[in-house]
Amino acid sequence: MLFNSFEFLIFLPIVFFIYWFVLGRKLHLQNIFLLIASYVFYGWWDWRFLSLIAMSTVVDYFVGIKIASLINDKKRKYWLFVSVVFNLGLLAFFKYFNFFIDSWVDLLHNVGYEVKSVWTLKIVLPVGISFYTFQTMSYTIDIYRNKLQPTKDFIAFAAFVSFFPQLVAGPIERATNLVPQFLSERKFSAKNISYGFKLILWGFFMKLVVADRAGVYVDTVYGNIENHEGLTFIMATIFFAFQIYGDFAGYSLIAIGTAKWFGFDLMTNFRRPYFSKSVSEFWNRWHISLSTWFRDYVYIPLGGNRVSRSRWLLNLFITFVVSGLWHGANWTFVIWGALNGIYLIAEVLIKRKTKFRLLALAYTFVVINFSWIFFRSSSVSEAFSIIKAILTSPGRLFIGSGDDIAASIYTVMAIFLLILVELKREYWSERWSLEKSNLKLVKFSFYALLVFTILYLGVFGESQFIYFQF
């Protein structure tokens, strides 16, 4: 089920009503109900893949208990290995199998051997697999590290793994933060619900008004690269920067807001990343749940920065390449990750920072946009064609005709509105906030105006969220 579908608009109030008004304070029943609701939410897309979530749940539940019951470190390590291999095995099969086979065949071809790729399979990528496998792995790893005690409450654990607001695209929650919330009583709070509602509305604005509008132009250009030139690619890439931000940050806000309705606090996933003054700052503001996951479970185990300088830089690079590969089974994502790793290494090596804030913002925006070219392109050669066109043939800016022009105008309006709001939040957070007014009429009118804006300017094609494919 998509957040931006009418099914969800019906589903959410029903689940909310039953959860609070029928089940009340019966924690165990609430968890059972959340589990069922989450499976319905996921099964709406394809019920067959529920079995994968169920398997991941069962394996990590028992492995967690097993690890905690053992003292012998070798045995504990063995059971952790079972969990990691199982989860990464799922990922490897569903997400990377064809990629590795194809890459191997290409490699052999490049060294002169012709091999037919008979091993590739027709595999459907289960939505959200990269997210819930990482979330459950954090559970067993944290138990192994003695940071968390395993829960014996299977229902609570299963509800944690499949919690519908963040099941398919995060935020990737840490077990240390979310599991205890399933084990303790949640209190109905009108304030929380009101705050959650605000997040959901703003999330929908980012998704339907900013991302889906920008996506129209981006898809037109990136879908026909042979018909466009440099300036158009620059415009499309800038639009893509806002499309992916609106899409993913919008999804995260809807997820966090929805979780608030049920009494859960999820972690912040985005903090106005395009206001970053360096790439390292960008990664502290972009997809925070994933960045910190890689920090805690890849970068630090590699040695982090407590090693020699060259090893530290290598650790940075490896972490970003792996993060790129996490995003998708394509060399474009690997290069995207590697590029970001290189940016970070360059920032470590060149310590000097400009005093001009605007210059720093512009630098960060440009280099991040450059890496987005790889992220959005369907192949490496396509990305290089785009870069070549940008550098050598600016040409004329494509703005289309008729309805296309109107669509572009709406896109610019939406991005402008987003920047304006983020600018205010970044630099004048507490001032002139209509939504924080003590007057209910003012506050509710602000929300109603936001709903109207979404209804009037939004794109209601029920388009998928970009990160669903990861």
């Binding site: 709406y410 929300y447 794109v459």
Partner: protein, 317 residues
Amino acid sequence: MTRKEIKKFLINIALFVIILVFIDFVLGSITQKIFFSQKTGKYARATYAIREADESIIILGSSHAHRHYVPEVFKQEIGKIAFNAGAEGQQLLYHFGLLKMILKKESKPDLIILNIDDYFLYDTPVAYDRLNDLHPYYGEYRDELYPVLKLNSDFVDLKLFFKGYQTNSTLVHALRYYASPQTTLNGYRPLYGKVTKESLNSMTIFKEHTEKIEGDFVWALKELIKTAKSNDVKLIFVTSPNVLEKDLKGNKSFEKIKQIAKEGEVLFIDYYNDKRFMNQYDLYHDISHLNDDGARLFTKILSNDLLDSNAIKKGSN
């Protein structure tokens, strides 16, 4: 959770809903006012066809209808006034919805010409996506539009309850046509310029459809015939000429359209592969659209064929 808390919560929800409906009503009424006050552009033409058109001949169809049928020529040849309600990029579902609204008026046309595109029955998401253009009329024409719009969503009434959604994204159109009005000749907009044999090679037609017949479109075409009949309005199907020979062998959509026309006793005049137009580059603006010269010649030939086949009688209007 106490009773008091629940009560407070429910009151807040009710208050918010009231404010939302009020704001939507006020701002939605303004956007609707702007929408319906448009004098030119695609929406203004549709609104005119639906609310005011009392012409004897109404033309429906995609850009081929919009660009190929010249009302002035109908007047000269048949002596009847025509209005071209062709809509660029639109497909059968839209034309059916539009026809139903047009025929709700008391004054009905004598003849409706539906320009047929051979792929009309092939499945394409575009046909559903572009139904948005009918949304602004939903408040006034719910009964007519509901059967069509529900094909696109199970929650039509819920979605279109909001006036803001009904007029979604129409403001820029309205402002654009206020700033730069679009001239039409009773709905017809001529295309100028000529193709050459060489320039055709660089032109491509984007294929937006699959080659699978969609049941919804078959239903819409049959219902369209029924609607015209029940309103006692003569309906004919016409295909526009093509610069290059069109290979229609194995075109299931086209065959089905012909079969439906036959079963519904609808006159079908086919100008695809008409020798008077084939390879006549001077008559075309691009690979599939006639230029003004071509459109005038085509409308003249069609007018004569209509008179010959007694589809319409010569008259003063």
